[in-house]
Symmetry: C2
Subunit: 114 residues, 2 copies
DNA sequence: CAACTATATTCTCTAAAAAGAATATAAGGT
DNA sequence: ACCTTATATTCTTTTTAGAGAATATAGTTG
């Protein structure tokens, strides 16, 4: 019960759902996600942590960058099922389209000073 | 996006998930649900309204009683899918078992003065 | 190891959600 | 019509979630 509710809660925020929809297309670092969502960097990190805690995303380090990507959902049947559904859900959603359209234009090389 | 988030939010509360699990077994009136959840009656009504607003439950009047039952989920693909999954999810959950076990013992005839 | 950069954590503030008390409404019985 | 009963709504309070500012950490480069 608790686990299920935690997964529902994790997906109860529009910004977090947007993150999932973005990561379906490619792995992204924090600064790229921030550029898409237009919220403060600490807020992005916090959202990512919530998604990570329920097994929706994972991260791998690449130098200073931390790349976030979707998991295969194997940690939980709830995550597995909903991530599966989200592959086709919301693809026609206006906000999803808007963000996906910008994906090619937002690159870490431009965002970060390196 | 908004609709999806609303469904997730509706299922982000343990009491509301318990209501869904109860209603899988039989339609219940407000006072029966209240007896199971052990929270104030207005809180039950409010939870039910949230579930009703996203198309998870419906109600029919029967005299003074209002019977709540699950919908077929036809109002939304999100509801449809998750209600389908919830038929098998959480059946082994301790709190679900506890509530389901009590279902036969809690009858409106005993709870209400009629 | 010192300076820099990307990310994480902490802290504080604001906003939203959940709970109960009191009250309102609607249906039934007398 | 009045009283009772089941449910809904409103109001207030407490708790929880989201946002940003400031700060801390970790990896990189010189």
């Amino acid at each position: 019960m608790k686990d299920f509710v935690k997964v529902m809660k994790a997906l109860s925020d529009p910004n977090r759902v947007k993150i999932v929809k973005m990561l379906q297309h490619k792995a992204l670092c924090v600064c790229e996600i921030q550029a898409h969502l237009q919220i403060a960097q600490p807020s992005v990190s916090k959202h990512l942590k919530i998604l990570e805690n329920v097994g929706i995303v994972e991260s791998t380090k690449e130098g200073l960058w931390v790349n976030y990507h979707l998991t295969d959902g194997s940690s939980s049947p709830y995550v597995s099922s909903i991530l599966g559904n989200l592959k086709h859900w919301l693809n026609d959603d206006a906000k999803t389209r808007e963000i996906v359209a910008k994906l090619p234009d937002i690159r870490r090389e431009d965002l970060c000073k390196k």
